[in-house]
Symmetry: C2
């Protein structure tokens, strides 16, 4: 989990910032990859960042801006004049410029567009015409295109003239005059097959192909499943418009995983750890507000049984146990089902089987922990009837919570709500309400 | 999130299994990639699996076994005779066989080893000598090695003789007679540079190199940071022993993300959704047991204030609000810090800055929600003093919870405990205890 080099570098960098030694800062940064510089800037407070940012070389600034999360990027952009910004952006790939554009001021954008060549401007227009989280938004426009009636020797000669291949070029794209994708030729074949053979003989005519509007999750699944390094992207007319490379897909996978983890606490994966206190407070307050409503609903349920509690205070002492055990059992089921839905192993086709299984597991665990809690309660209060009631309440709550854990993600998905974001709150509301109501209700009926 | 093709395939497959139509099952499976077959098998119940598994072609079975999670693999292996198993395993890569070996019966293992050639057996020994979660355990042994004093033309001629390159070959490895890694030659350079040049001129002498004992998290970070397709693995003597390819790294990243999500609910990422009920119950019961201890501690705190509650039942009604708001505020901080530690943006060097910031955010949110809850309580019970007490308790609990969210991951990490696994339980214990104690304690002091 730890990253000793990063910690050492950060220590040294903070020391250099505090002693205002800009020469030292430059030396510390000089050997680092832009991804490392981005991480260091993210690890600094907004007060420390300008001293470091000004020492990053003008041509490297663009790469760093691409790497940092949104919050940090805003912070860094605020400190840059137009000229530096245009220089920084000019050295980026088209797909990277496209990612930055939403954060760029209009006049900088105009200058950047003015400074790229006509072809690049057209390509940028193409990339920007698709939403950021689709294949079209992810693609780059550096695909090498060849015709199928030429020989491999000619292809190799063409590549020699062209010079170093773009990164992640494991295949060339075979197109006709109208740019329709006819197939792909792997670089491995290009090297190993007889040089006099024509491209057409060796071209794979059914390559895995992405459509510009495919969501990025599908792109990631295709890369994972078919072990791709690059894949062609076509528009609605089956014309090749770009290619996606595995490095961008790795970022999608990491972002997607971060989203699942952060969303559960109502956070964004783009959150800057040193965002201004006011902004962080506001971002988090919304989530706390939603949870407060949940908590008030649970309290209201308890409020309906004030008289019962007054007569038997032990209920107030024991009720959090029932609610919390239900919450934990439900969270386990919820986690399994949300993951199953997202990787595709749980679908409507086997939902009923999953419900049956989780009902049985919940039931068994309900009985086991009902017995344990009943024993604790009976020993604590020397009251068998109370032990019996809490055991019953536990079984009811664990079983209902387990079922809610299965069913909620399906309902939320159908409503178009992200289960990772809303599943936990919805589940807590149910487990608290059912937990308190079953214990206090049973007690009111049978004990008082 | 959804995966319509998978759902359709699963529907059709379940129908075929239920009508015992093995011909239809074979047709449904015939066009699918082994990763898709693996996912379908995972989506079936253990009762449905044998009918499908027997229709998977003998040579494809190996790939499927590699793809399924541990629980499902055990289930499938139990159904296979030795001969089928030997056939299935024989077609796999060395690194894949190495991954399966812990699950293979001894006699099958002996047969597999007997059936691979001597070189492969030696390689397998090499891969197996490193832990599964290190670079050595992840590597494959299909690196193409060349000498630096030959010309690119000779390299191309050698590759032509050799035939199709191994998957993910973006570079060749330049070694001396003793197999010491001297550098790498990119395939792109091989194609584009003059054929008469020697390898030595174009070889990158400082490639990103992994050591066999590097943990897999570091491997994943290196691939993400330096956008690699493949990287050489060397042993302690700097001898090239294999290479790691990006497809295996993508699996590491996905597994790592799954682990973070599942561990929070005390689950394993290898859990089979249709594992036998008894086994699932047992796996989950441990976690529920740990959480029960937490809940009992919280109850014990409430138990100390029975008299206070008896005199003012409103406290029993309101106390879950204080505990739950603290829990949510703490979880947000905990999530931010665990992620920061794992990606390396939070280290000891800036821990104090993070604590300061989270203290301020917690304080502000504490005040905001204290006011809101105080209003609710005052309106509900028409009791200003009660409103004041609950407001104070809220501020105390939200601030302490936020601080606990920062500090706990550091403590757990130092103790060698995975914060993703234990952070939540530890935090809940603190937020419940502090929440109940502050509200009931303040009430006992000032209200009763």
């Amino acid at each position: 989990m730890s990253n000793p080099d990063q910690a050492d570098n950060l220590d040294l960098l903070i020391a250099a910032v505090e002693s205002q030694n800009s020469e030292r800062i430059r030396v510390l940064l000089s050997d680092l990859h832009s991804a490392d510089v981005a991480k260091l800037l993210e690890s600094l407070t907004p007060e420390q960042r300008p001293a470091v940012w000004s020492e990053v070389s003008p041509t490297a600034k663009g790469e760093v801006l691409v790497e940092v999360p949104d919050g940090v990027r805003e912070d860094l952009l605020a400190d840059m004049d137009k000229e530096t910004l245009v220089t920084a952006v000019r050295y980026l790939d088209i797909d990277e410029i496209a990612d930055l554009i939403p954060d760029l001021p209009d006049d900088v954008l105009a200058d950047v567009l003015f400074n790229v060549d006509k072809d690049a401007r057209a390509s940028l227009g193409e990339v920007l015409s698709y939403p950021e989280d689709t294949a079209g938004g992810l693609m780059n426009v550096d695909a090498i295109m060849i015709r199928e009636n030429i020989s491999l020797r000619v292809v190799i000669r063409y590549l020699r003239l062209r010079g170093q291949l773009p990164e992640f070029t494991d295949k060339l794209f075979v197109v006709d005059r109208a740019n329709h994708l006819k197939g792909v030729l792997s670089v491995s074949t290009l090297i190993t097959a007889p040089a006099s053979d024509r491209v057409g003989i060796h071209c794979d005519r059914k390559p895995i192909t992405l459509n510009a509007m495919d969501p990025q999750e599908d792109v990631a699944q295709a890369f994972e499943k078919y072990n791709l390094i690059s894949a062609p992207v076509v528009d609605e007319q089956e014309q090749l418009i770009g290619r996606i490379t595995v490095d961008d897909v790795v970022d999608v996978i990491r972002d997607d995983a971060d989203h699942s983890i952060m969303a559960r606490a109502g956070l964004s994966q783009e959150e800057d750890i040193f965002a201004p206190v006011a902004r962080s407070t506001k971002n988090r307050a919304v989530w706390l507000g939603v949870n407060l409503i949940t908590a008030i609903i649970a309290s209201w349920v308890i409020g309906q049984f004030e008289e019962t509690i007054e007569k038997l205070v032990a209920l107030a002492v024991l009720m959090p146990i029932v609610a919390s055990m239900g919450g934990n059992a439900g969270t386990q089921t919820l986690t399994v089902v949300i993951r199953g839905l997202s990787v595709g192993t749980i679908t409507h086709a086997n939902a009923w089987q999953v419900i049956k299984k989780e009902f049985l597991v919940g039931g068994l665990n309900g009985v086991i922990w009902a017995l344990a809690v009943a024993m604790v309660a009976t020993l604590w209060y020397h009251d068998y009837a109370l032990g019996l009631i809490i055991a019953l309440a536990m079984i009811i709550n664990i079983v209902i919570s387990a079922l809610a854990g299965v069913i909620l993600p399906f309902i939320l998905q159908r409503l178009g709500v992200d289960p990772a974001l809303a599943g936990g709150v919805a589940l807590t509301t149910i487990t608290d309400v059912v937990g308190f109501f079953s214990l206090l209700g049973l007690a009111a009926l049978f004990l008082i």
